[in-house]
Structures are given as structure tokens and as C-alpha cells.
């Protein structure tokens, strides 16, 4: 089984949609209304073919002269003149003026065939563009002959084996004004240029691709400085590699709420909140902390100019200007209504490609959302996130929640694309508004479930302890009041304990005094007793001595006398 061979166009995104390019060796019809980029698409097909794939091409122009064509595509950075000199591209301007032509009798378009054949053979062309064949209908009078000849032409192109692109004007009821789709049946691409809310967007749709699978959706495309880029959303695959590395948010306590280490590198972060909740401040803080780590940060601002941002942030102690000067931080400010969504996306892609940031911040994504329908915006954000994730770039999107809308609902289109979601909120009460934040979701990490108040001071952002009262979280002065209440209670308990301690020590001292007076009483009496005992002893000894002395005097038996003295010792007087 052989698959249909494809001829890559080299146009960004188109090859993705068509699964590799246009059908090789067959004609493709590109139709669309005026000014939707048919000629440019055809020209880029030839230029890319000549430059990227070394396939020379012939451009048969029925509407523009060679010089005009060269000038027109020069705006896309294609040097057609150089390619012509290198014999990689051959331009042939076919001019027909009906007023100069008179018809008499039968004719055919063999002249065109000869010209085409000669052009193809002279440079060995593999690609052919006919822009726009329908001019023939206006120039040549006999439509029956023309139709027969066109049918022959497409057959001839196929036989010649060239991959051809034929452009045609969009008709009111059919794809082309003169029904060329009848003849070109292999591949039909429809271009469209619509204005929605004053913003024009180009769309591309592969209406038909015989023998091949293709994306059937309408894809936005744009004509930028480097040619056409089609932005296929649905054909993107989810296969980017992921990082385990974590990066700090710039607010230590917010890091703590995110499992202690902040966001994953390369993840997408959504920061939502009503106006004045501090989205931009947190974003700038994040940018500053990234820059301090030496990471390059690209900040897309859709509401404030870089200078205004720098001034405002300096009021809370964020010095962004030195970072800008060092080339670490770059602001890109553009009004959302400046151009369409696709142009914004292309501009962002180009900025990202040239600046090569580690962190990208979009502030706010919601103002960009006004430039297109919700599905277009979602597609754009998807495309952007995928692009950033593929390059391991961390992205932070802020989103403004409109007053009155449900906080979680308003971003339902986007939230599922985000890895982390931090919600900022105003708490009203007690005659004041206070800011709180909480982590609504954080894929792949343990995160705090607490609602935390955060303060914006001269020194930046500080997340403070949560106070949960009977009526919910306490913020602002209520939190301060609760704080001082608790402090007063602690003080009272401390005072009570000190009082008790003093009482106890006083009692101990009284006890000690009592003990010592009792002891001194006792000691006095004991001393008395000892003195008395001594006195008694002395008397007895004296008596004995006297007795012995008198015994000696009486010349009594000493021994007997001594025994008697000892036995009668106790009752001697």
C-alpha cells in the first residue's frame, strides 16, 4: 500500500494540518476573497520550496507584474529577485486585456500550455503557481472553450508531475467564482478574512484533501514579517518533558504554602482576582525573584507601559529598573486592540524566540481575551502554553475576574490548562477591604488549604498568619484586634502567676522565720539542760573527792570504801 506522496510547503503550521504538505504532483486549489492572502500563500509555497527543499518553481501571474510581485513578497522577507537570478524561480506575467482581443472562430489555450511547458522545462520546476486563473474568464470571451481548456490544463499539470497551486476568487455561492473546484479535485484550501469586533482575523480551512487525513477545522493564520504561519491548535501533542525543579515565588511564605518550595519549573500558573487584589504586584515580585536568580524574564503587559510598571513597583520596594538595564527583565507592552489575537500570539512567539526567557508573564490575559471569541482565546492560550512548556519556560498568567462573576467560573475556559492556580480575593467587612490569597490548585505538589491574608507594604508583599474567628477568617483590623485580645489574655495570666509566686515566697519566708525561732528556743533549753548536768556532775565529784579525802583521814579500807562510793553514787545526799 502506498500513501499519497506529499509535497511539504514549508509554511509554518500548514504542513502540520495537511499531514506533510500538499499532494505531490497534483494541483491544489487555494480560494478566498480578495485580500485574504492567496497570492502570498502561493508565493511562499514556491519560495520555501526553492530555498528549503531545492525544488524550483514557476509563478505564472495573471494579475501582477514581475516587479509588483517581487515588491509584494519582499515585505515578507523573500528575495524573489535573487531566486529568479539563481534560476530557482521563474516569474511569468501573463497579461490579457479583453478590449484588445477580438475573437473569431475556434481557438484553444495551447499558447499557455507552451509557455508553461517552456517555463517548467527551462528551470526544471517541480512547483507551479497559477495566480489567478480566473482572470481568463474576464479576458477570453468564449467560456465553453475556456472550461474545456482548463480541464485539459489541470490534466496536463498532473501528467507533467508538478505540484501546482491554483488560486481563485471566492464566489458568492460556491468556493470559486467560476467553479474551478470542479476541475481541481485533489486538494482545496479555503482562506477567509473575517472582522469580529473591528478586529480582523484570517482563517484557513482544508476543505478537501483526497486520499489523505487532514485537520478539517478552521485554523487562524497570519501574515507576519517572516511569512505565513498557520496556528493549528488541535494537532498539538501533549508530550513535552517535565522538570522536577522548583522555583521560588519571591514570597517565602507563599513558597511555604506550595509545599515549601514554590512552583515547578516549566509549569503554567494562573493568578486570578478582581481588580486591585495585587495580581500585578505578585507578578512583578515573581519576576524580580526570577531575575535575582539570574533567570531571564519576559513580561507582556497589556494594560500598563513599562515605565509605569517600574514606577509603581518601586513604591513597594521592588526595584525593577536595574534588572531591565542588566538585560534580565524585558517588558513588552501592547494594547490588546492593537491587532488581532493571532498577531499578538505571533508577536509573543517572536519575542520569546529572540529573548529566550526562563519565565514569561502575561498581565493580564483577560484583556487579550477581548480580541477574540472564547474558543479562539482558549486555543491561543493552549498554543502559547504548549510552546512555553516545550521550552521548559515557566509561565504566569494573570486574569482579571469581573466584579460579580463567580471567582472560579470566569476562567473555566483557561483554568484546566493551568498547573497551579492562585486566587486573590478581597475580604470586605469591618469597614475595610483586605487582601487574601489561597492556592486553589497546584498539580503535583502538597499545598496549603488555608486562606491567608497578605499585606503590601513598602518592603513588598508579606503573607501573614491566618486568624480564624467564629465568623471565618479574620483580616485587617479584625485580625489585629484578635491579636491584641489574645496578647491581653496572655498578659493577665502572666500577672496572675507572678502574684501567686510572690504569695508563696512570702509564706515560705514566714515559715522559715518560724522554724528558726523555734530552733533557737530549743537550743536555749538544750543549753540550759547541758549546763545543769554539768553542775550536777561537778557537785558529785566534789562530794566523792571529799568522801575519799575524809576516808583517808579516817584510814578506812580504800578498796571497800571505793566500792561503796560507786554503789551509793546516786543517792549519796
Amino acid at each position: 500500500m502506498t500513501l499519497l506522496p506529499k509535497c511539504p510547503t514549508g509554511i509554518q503550521g500548514l504542513d502540520e494540518i495537511t499531514g506533510g504538505g500538499l499532494p505531490r504532483g497534483r494541483p491544489t486549489l487555494v480560494c478566498g476573497s480578495a485580500g485574504c492572502g492567496k497570492t502570498l500563500l502561493a508565493a511562499e509555497f514556491l519560495v520555501r520550496g526553492a530555498v528549503l527543499f531545492d525544488e524550483p518553481g514557476v509563478f505564472i501571474a495573471f494579475e501582477e507584474t514581475e516587479a509588483e510581485l517581487e515588491a509584494n513578497v519582499a515585505s515578507l522577507g523573500f528575495d524573489l529577485g535573487k531566486l529568479v537570478r539563481q534560476k530557482k524561480i521563474l516569474l511569468d506575467y501573463v497579461h490579457l486585456e479583453r478590449s484588445e482581443i477580438q475573437e473569431s472562430g475556434e481557438y484553444d489555450l495551447e499558447g499557455l500550455f507552451v509557455r508553461l511547458n517552456h517555463a517548467i522545462d527551462s528551470i526544471g520546476a517541480q512547483r507551479v503557481v497559477l495566480d489567478t486563473l480566473e482572470v481568463l474568464f474576464a479576458s477570453l470571451p468564449n467560456e465553453a472553450i475556456l472550461r474545456a481548456e482548463l480541464r485539459r490544463l489541470f490534466r496536463w499539470l498532473k501528467d507533467k508531475g508538478v505540484t501546482a497551486v491554483i488560486t481563485a476568487e471566492r464566489g458568492p455561492e460556491q468556493l470559486t467564482r467560476h467553479g474551478l473546484e470542479e476541475y481541481v479535485s485533489d486538494c482545496v484550501i479555503l482562506l477567509d478574512h473575517r472582522v469580529n469586533d473591528q478586529i480582523a482575523t484570517r482563517h484557513l480551512r482544508v476543505v478537501k484533501y483526497r486520499g489523505a487525513q487532514h485537520g478539517t477545522n478552521e485554523f487562524p493564520f497570519l501574515i507576519g514579517e517572516d511569512g505565513i504561519s498557520v496556528l493549528p491548535i488541535t494537532s498539538l501533542a501533549l508530550n513535552h518533558k517535565v522538570s522536577d525543579e522548583r522555583i521560588a515565588t519571591g514570597i517565602p511564605r507563599l513558597d511555604a504554602m506550595l509545599g515549601g518550595r514554590g512552583f515547578f519549573r516549566g509549569s503554567s500558573i494562573l493568578l486570578t482576582g478582581t481588580s486591585g487584589t495585587g495580581k500585578t504586584i505578585i507578578s512583578c515580585n515573581f519576576a524580580q525573584s526570577a531575575c535575582r536568580r539570574g533567570e531571564r524574564t519576559l513580561y507582556f503587559s497589556f494594560e500598563e507601559s513599562p515605565n509605569q510598571l517600574i514606577r509603581n513597583m518601586s513604591s513597594i520596594g521592588l526595584r525593577l529598573e536595574p534588572l531591565v538595564k542588566r538585560g534580565l527583565l524585558r517588558f513588552h507592552s501592547a494594547r490588546p486592540s492593537l491587532y488581532g489575537l493571532e498577531m499578538h500570539l505571533a508577536t509573543m512567539f517572536r519575542e520569546i524566540a529572540t529573548f529566550k526567557p526562563d519565565v514569561v508573564i502575561l498581565d493580564p490575559i483577560t484583556s487579550l481575551m477581548d480580541s477574540g471569541t472564547p474558543s479562539e482565546c482558549k486555543g491561543m492560550v493552549t498554543r502559547l502554553i504548549d510552546y512555553l512548556k516545550a521550552g521548559q519556560v515557566t509561565s504566569l498568567f494573570t486574569s482579571l475576574t469581573q466584579g460579580g462573576a463567580a471567582l472560579q467560573q470566569s476562567d473555566s475556559a483557561m483554568s484546566s490548562l493551568m498547573d497551579s492556580w492562585i486566587l486573590l480575593q478581597d475580604f470586605e467587612g469591618n469597614g475595610e477591604r483586605n487582601r487574601v490569597l489561597y492556592v486553589l490548585k497546584a498539580r503535583g505538589m502538597k499545598h496549603s488549604n488555608q486562606i491567608r491574608e497578605f499585606l503590601i507594604s513598602d518592603h513588598g508583599i508579606d503573607v501573614v498568619d491566618a486568624y480564624i474567628g467564629p465568623s471565618g477568617v479574620l483580616t485587617g483590623s479584625a485580625r489585629a484586634a484578635q491579636n491584641s485580645l489574645e496578647q491581653a489574655a496572655v498578659l493577665a495570666r502572666q500577672q496572675e502567676a507572678a502574684q501567686l509566686e510572690r504569695e508563696v515566697s512570702r509564706k515560705r519566708r514566714a515559715l522559715d522565720r518560724q522554724i528558726s525561732s523555734l530552733r533557737s528556743d530549743y537550743e536555749t533549753e538544750a543549753e540550759e539542760l547541758r549546763r545543769i548536768a554539768e553542775q550536777v556532775g561537778t557537785k558529785t565529784r566534789l562530794l566523792t573527792t571529799e568522801r575519799v579525802a575524809s576516808g583517808l583521814l579516817r584510814q578506812a579500807d580504800t578498796k571497800t570504801a571505793r566500792i561503796r562510793v560507786s554503789s551509793r553514787n546516786g543517792r549519796s545526799h
Binding site: 482581443i101 473569431s104 472562430g105 475556434e106 484553444d108 495551447e110 499558447g111 507552451v114 511547458n117 477570453l140
Partner: protein, 111 residues
Amino acid sequence: MTKPPKTKRSAAAPAKPRPDPRWHLRLYVVDQTPKSIMALTNLKRICENHLKGRYHITVIDLLKQPRLAKGDQILAVPTVVRLLPTPVRTVIGSLSDIERVLIGLDLRAAD
């Protein structure tokens, strides 16, 4: 080839014979198809009838000289181009409708 004299011509103005009005016609064909043969035959007859002795026909076979197709912006064949007198006029087809050829080449005025 001599340059034609500068004469003011218009369809409304009565035709008057000009001194030495050389007609230079070029017939583009691809190969010797019945259509091309018919065109050449028709052209010769018309010229003989209206421009006897004052015309010159060049036949170009694009099959042999494809480069020349670009010069006169030839798409359809057969094509006859009136190079002289100016302005250039073009008639396509086998020239079977003589009336139209006469209009196309502005031959009525030349008569």
C-alpha cells in the same frame, strides 16, 4: 521594415489611402493543426482581399519557438497580432468569422 507615417486614424474619420501603408501581421500557431492551417488560409484570403500587396505575414510556431509566446502575451492559439500599423491589435481563433476579423484588425478603416 519601414516606420509607418504618423497619421491620425479613427473609426469615425473617413478612410483615405495613406502613402505606403505597410501591414505587418504575425500569426502564432502551435503545430500544424487543422485550426492553424485554417487560420493561415483565412488570414491570407482576407489580406488578399483587403490589403493586396501591402501586407506581410509572419507565422510563428510556438512549438518550435516557445520563447516568443511571452513577447506578445500569447495564450490562445491561433492568434493573429497586427504589429503595424500601431496600435497593436489582436484577434484570436481560426479567423472563420471574417466580419469579426475585419473589425478586430481594424481593416475596414484601411479599405
